[in-house]
């Protein structure tokens, strides 16, 4: 495991300390000791050496850190009181955020207040250390309670009697009267009671739903969507998402709790998470519905709606709303929408590229590295930090960002929560709840807290959003009919009859030409743009935490992202700014020759992979031509797939690997697969390039981020070569005169495609 909150300084020595009911990990290390200006901050925050510098006076010292690894519940509660002396500054946060996995609020409160918080016996508790270095027990208890009330107030929502909160209040009145925690507890109680009176369950989705008013005038969804400007839609979706996300109770996300949600007795478990998912699915359905609902629309009109959603998604990206962004993107990628090939043809090329860029954010490549990285980079930055490879989109983005900056509005970040949920379930699966001797495995909770802390940090960032609900939009949104998966698919088939979408139709071939030229243009622009990953890192100053507490959490987050960057960068697959298109010409390639090659290729074809999904099986079964869909084959592009052969340069040229290419595959992915097949995994993807061998001395180099399926010359043999890139100097020169050739090559390849399909 490599986890983000690693100690930065050198660990000098460590031992395990075992005592009755607990196991500790003791390390000696050189650390920067800081005198926190605010003691509470040290208590509440994570590690002391990560506090913002202005809060501290620092010096280096060897210090002993004693952390509890496992223990009985009693020991874990007791440790709350001693963790500070042990230099385990994160303990309170970790415990409070995760104890619900192994104990109830009542149990912990009883132990804390009745056993360990009994102020008469406190000398005993603190007896291990010299009296002057031991903070006053009263102070310690007060800070624990304050942290609890502040960070995990939901723990005390126990209507109608609020036993835990009342118990706490009583304790505070008796032992620490007039204190801040007492006022806090009192306020919380009143707040809960008021909410109960209002019969408000505290979750926004219902209150949003309530806005839905039956008496509103009948609205046509399509007209209405066009009435709402893209930025308004994105802003309103973000408003709804942020409100729901802020209400997420972090411990609900713990694997042990979230994975129990479908048990019969747990119907109401984790309502705050369900609310965010409900919203996510509603956005997805809204996208699908608005696109499919009216059957009579012209393809151009429907394409306009698709474009609109892509632009809305882009606005969401600027607002750093990764939840709705993902919802929209996955809606557009869903079968019902994605299969509308003839409609997509009318989506402008800039918008199409925008869509591809946005889709790339959620590519599952490298464990969702892109989206995770983005989240970490932008989680606490004031503004989105994005770059587009398309000039038009770039301008648009800059305008929007400038506007944000001019208005001085900071943006929060809404994450897609699902990734966190999976991570937490994985952690829960992988790590034991109890260790030998039946002790609670607290190491597990520390690891879970790392994820929880990220969620909390992002929640606090959401306070920086400054948006007001637009009733008209919200009403419209909740009025959208929600089609089921089946309904949308059959609507989709009505809109574009299934058989029409096969490659043999002349119209779809036209679409290919268009798509191709679009891709080609796009890759040209990519060549001049700066890749996102090379953008300067967002400044840490953007942390929006108001309380000392959240400030300290965010500061460790930033360390996290830095540490991550350090280890991630080498495996990155950056866009190559110095992209090149080498000499290319295919006009010399006679069609007879390629026809021949194509047919021979089919007969002797070894298919290396089982066939990958074709999105429209339904469409195929309707096609009268064959009873079966054409499987991907070598030298022929069947709908979305084909087989290409890739050999490596220094390999005599006769050893090749067949690779299944789908219309979704971009150059880096294809290169990576080829490298894998050629056992070159140890090399970096970005050091290689892929070129189609057109003839003996002509080849077509795939632009570094092109869609290979469309970028390749479908007229020539589907033979490719994988090789190490040449030096930058050579490439630049080649690019200068190669582009027009590629363009004509490609178009020709596509236009004559019809001859090859049967």
């Amino acid at each position: 495991f490599s986890f983000p909150f690693s100690w930065q300084s050198t660990v000098q020595e460590w031992v395990e300390e075992v005592e009755e009911g607990a196991v500790y990990h003791v390390i000696l290390k050189r650390v920067q000791i800081q005198q926190a200006a605010n003691k509470g901050a040290r208590w509440l925050g994570a590690e002391g050496d990560q506090l913002p510098p202005e809060h501290t006076v620092s010096q280096y010292e060897t210090c002993k850190i004693r952390t509890i690894k496992a223990g009985t519940l009693e020991k874990l509660v007791e440790n709350l009181l001693t963790a500070f002396e042990d230099n385990d500054f994160a303990y309170t946060s970790v415990f409070l955020s995760t104890y619900r996995a192994f104990a109830s609020t009542k149990e912990v409160l009883e132990l804390l207040l009745d056993r360990y918080g009994n102020l008469e016996t406190y000398e005993e508790v603190g007896s291990q250390n010299s009296i002057e270095s031991t903070p006053d027990l009263r102070t310690i208890i007060a800070s624990i309670i304050r942290a609890w009330l502040e960070k995990c107030s939901e723990d005390f929502r126990e209507p109608p009697d609020y036993p835990s909160l009342l118990k706490l209040l009583e304790y505070l009145k008796r032992n620490i009267p007039g204190s801040e925690p007492e006022r806090r507890a009192q306020n919380l109680l009143e707040q809960f009671q008021n909410q109960e009176v209002e019969n408000d369950d505290g979750f926004h989705s219902t209150s949003i739903c309530n806005l839905y008013d039956e008496e509103e005038t009948e609205m046509n969804s399509l007209e209405e969507l066009s009435c709402f400007p893209e930025d308004l839609v994105a802003e309103q979706l973000t408003y709804m998402d942020a409100e729901l996300f802020k209400k997420v109770v972090p411990y609900h996300c713990l694997g042990s709790i979230w994975s129990q949600r479908d048990k019969k007795e747990n119907k109401h478990l984790a309502p705050t998470i369900r609310a965010t998912i409900f919203q996510f699915n509603a956005v997805t359905k809204c996208v699908v519905t608005t696109i499919l609902k009216s059957k009579e629309l012209k393809k151009q009109q429907r394409a306009k709606i698709i474009e609109k959603w892509i632009h809305i998604a882009h606005e969401c990206r600027i607002l750093k709303n990764f939840s709705s962004l993902r919802a929209i993107i996955s809606a557009l990628q869903s079968n019902s929408i994605y299969r509308l090939k003839k409609t997509w043809v009318f989506v402008s090329k800039d918008t199409m590229l925008m869509f591809e860029e946005l889709s790339d954010i959620f590519s599952d490549h490298d464990n969702y590295l892109t989206s995770r990285e983005l989240l970490m980079k932008e989680g606490t930055s004031k503004f989105a930090n994005l770059d587009s490879s398309v000039k038009e989109n770039q301008k648009r983005t800059q305008r929007r960002l400038q506007l944000q900056k001019d208005m001085g509005v900071m943006q929060g970040t809404v994450p897609y929560l699902g990734t966190f949920l999976t991570d937490l379930i994985m952690l829960d699966t992988a790590l034991q709840d109890y260790v030998e001797g039946g002790l609670i495995n607290f190491e597990k909770r520390r690891k879970e807290f790392e994820v929880i802390a990220q969620i909390k940090l992002l929640q606090s960032s959401c306070n920086s959003y400054c948006m007001t609900p637009d009733q008209k939009f919200i009403q419209w949104f909740w009025k959208q009919q929600h089609l089921t998966e089946e309904e949308s698919f059959s609507l989709s088939c009505e809109v574009e009859a299934a058989a029409d979408t096969s490659t043999t139709s002349p119209k779809s071939r036209k679409s290919m030409v268009k798509r191709f030229s679009l891709l080609f243009l796009g890759s040209e622009m990519i060549a001049h743009s700066t890749p996102i990953k090379e953008q300067p890192k967002s400044t840490p100053g953007g942390s929006s935490g108001e309380s000392t507490d959240s400030a300290s959490v965010s500061s460790c987050e930033l360390n996290h992202s830095e540490a991550e960057d350090a280890c991630i960068t080498p495996v990155d697959v950056p866009d190559e700014p110095e992209k090149k298109l080498s000499e290319s010409s295919s006009s010399s390639c006679s069609s007879a020759q390629s026809m021949e090659a194509s047919s021979s290729g089919v007969s002797s074809l070894p298919v290396p992979f089982p066939l990958v999904s074709s999105n429209e099986k339904c469409s195929v079964s309707v096609t009268p031509v064959t009873s079966n869909v054409l499987p991907p084959v070598y030298n022929q592009q069947n709908k979305d797939t084909c087989i290409i052969r890739i050999s490596i340069e220094d390999n005599n040229g006769n050893m090749y690997k067949s690779i299944l290419l789908t219309s979704q595959d971009k150059t880096p992915a294809v290169i990576q697969r080829a490298m894998l097949k050629h056992n070159l995994e140890s090399d970096a993807v970005e050091d290689y390039e892929l070129a189609q061998v057109i003839s003996e001395n002509k080849e077509l180099v795939m632009p570094a981020n092109a869609n290979v399926f469309y970028a390749m010359n479908s007229q020539a043999n589907f033979d490719f070569i994988l090789r190490k890139k040449a030096s930058v100097d050579e490439q630049v020169e080649v690019r200068a005169h190669s582009s027009p050739l590629l363009s004509s090559t490609a178009k020709q390849g596509c236009c004559s495609n019809g001859k090859m399909t049967e």
Binding site: F1, S259, R261, D262, R274, I277, F280, N281, T284, R326, S330, A331, Q333, S334, N335, D364, N367, Y368, L369, R372, G418, T419, L421, T422, D423, L424, I425, M426, T429, V451, E485, I568, V602, S603, L605, P606, V607, P608, F609, P610, L611, V612, S613, S614, N615, K617, V620, T626, V629, L630, P631, R645, M655, K657, T662, R673, L676, K677, H678, N679
Partner: protein
């Protein structure tokens, strides 16, 4: 021929390497992630990415080939419908997991199968039906026969497992690997990809009526 001529990284000589994406589908708490974790456990530390953990990899060195599994699990994200549907795109094999102590989960597995049937052609993906949690035999709601029968009608691999007691976990993944390789060979030897017959799983030897 071509795909077999892998330059040998293995000491035995020339063996092809295949990479397969395997997805786990099923209701909440049927034990998807436990299965995945149990299967890759020995390599867990190595295979766990530095950030989060959405998939595991496992390499099988078989006699005829090296099979690399990329095992994807969206446990926790079942309720994000569109996301789940997208994630099985491009999969080579799917494990439809249900809990033998919860009949409802088998019904859900059947729905997942319907989704897969929409997305894939019969020969495009190897599907295994997995009845997990045989350690909960006392609370069994789905008989072995029922699972087996359903798998037979739908031409699925079938096995009952227990991630908890490590029962048949490796076996099911091995069965999938063999089935995938068998299909590779079939494709390689087929004179034309169009003339391929359907896979008769009954003869594959991978099916096991267990317990």
């Amino acid at each position: 021929m071509a795909q077999k001529a892998t330059p040998g990284t293995s000491p035995e000589g020339i063996r092809p390497t295949y990479l397969y994406k395997v997805v786990l589908l099923g209701s909440t708490s049927v034990g998807k992630s436990s299965l995945a974790y149990r299967y890759v456990k020995n390599d867990f530390k190595e295979s766990l990415p530095t950030v989060g953990c959405s998939f595991f990899t496992q390499t099988l060195n078989l006699e005829v080939a090296t099979v690399k599994f990329e095992i994807w699990d969206t446990a926790g994200q079942e309720k994000y419908h569109s996301v789940c549907h997208l994630y099985y795109r491009g999969a080579h094999a799917a494990l439809l997991v249900y809990d033998i102590a919860n009949k409802e989960t088998l019904n859900r597995a059947k729905l997942w199968l319907r989704d897969l049937e929409k997305e894939f052609l019969p020969n495009e993906i190897v599907i295994a039906l997995v009845g997990n949690k045989t350690d909960l035999a006392a609370q069994r709601e789905v008989t072995t026969e029922e699972g087996e029968e359903f798998a037979r009608t739908k031409n699925l691999l079938f096995m009952e497992t227990s991630a908890k007691s490590n029962h048949q976990v490796t076996d099911i993944f091995m069965a999938i690997a063999q089935e995938l390789l068998r299909q590779e060979q079939e494709k390689a030897s087929a004179p034309s990809p169009l003339g391929k017959s359907t896979v008769d799983l009954g003869e594959s030897g991978a099916r096991t009526g267990c317990c």
